[in-house]
Symmetry: C2
Subunit: 151 residues, 2 copies
DNA sequence: CGAATCTCAGGCGAACTGATATGC
DNA sequence: CGCATATCAGTTGGCCTGAGATTC
């Protein structure tokens, strides 16, 4: 029988291993794995708000802000006032940001290939689907917990 | 087609979601998810060295030491001289440590149940197996990198 | 001697809390 | 008004580097 503890352990070990390899991959560029995740979310499309960024990378507003200030200081992103919502910020990659991200993307191709090399093609989609289930049930827990504060 | 990027994203999202839920679960006890992972490794069996602890939770010696100092300050663990190896420390849970861990374990039963509720029984073992593959290929990368420093 | 284990000082990015300003 | 978005100050735990002591 496989227990919840084993799932948690395996998930932790797999994530930490990947996280460390990613950090090593970008070490000489002064970019962390988490910053790469943020840049990757920005590289997906056009300008998005900090709030949307929070949702995409599963972080919180204060953390995202701190990361953006770091990246802004290096000239990789810009945070402009949102045209139609005065509260929001519109975040985009700069030209330098796109250039750096492309470089990091190429640099990490081998890492992603190694990640995929662990699986048969059909196993990959299974893994992604199962990991998605984890996110879903954990989000349910979040709702329950915040709701329980009212009763 | 499922890309390495999607795997990385899904893995990150799943881990962070679980990590946050775990932290929330133990928040009022002043124990973090990482500390719980360490306590869990200690609860597995008898005394182990800090080095062995590093291997089990996939961290590094300095981090483990800092965490142990914290937990030792709260009376949850003891670090004694290893009987046959003067360099090593022999780490065990105290009576209080075992008591606290049991409490946290019970408290997190619902969380583990929710984690398992996302899957059919056979899917759970598949997930653990696939996550194990990730760890393996990432470890291979670690060897390559350290080896490349010599040539 | 080299290698392994642990200690110590210090720095940094990430995550959080709580209070606050501003615009919807 | 309530609510959402973002800012700011401050704290913490985790992870790392680099240097050193001790023991095998």
């Amino acid at each position: 029988m496989t227990t919840g503890r084993e799932v948690a352990r395996a998930l932790r070990a797999a994530y930490l291993a990947l996280h460390r390899q990613t950090n090593d991959c970008f070490a000489e560029d002064g970019v962390t794995a988490d910053q790469f995740a943020l840049l990757s979310a920005l590289a997906d499309g056009d300008a998005i708000t900090q709030q949307e960024l929070v949702r995409r990378i599963g972080s919180d507003p204060n953390t995202v802000r701190a990361m953006l200030l770091l990246l802004e200081g290096r000239g990789l992103v810009v945070r402009e006032r949102h045209p139609s919502d005065g509260r929001a910020r519109s975040v985009t990659l700069t030209a330098k940001g796109r250039r750096v991200f492309k470089k990091l993307w190429r640099k990490s191709e081998q890492l992603r290939a190694r990640l995929l090399s662990a699986f048969h093609p059909d196993e990959v989609s299974v893994l992604v689907r199962l990991l998605g289930h984890v996110v879903e049930v954990m989000r349910e827990g979040h709702r329950r917990q915040t709701a329980s504060q009212n009763g």
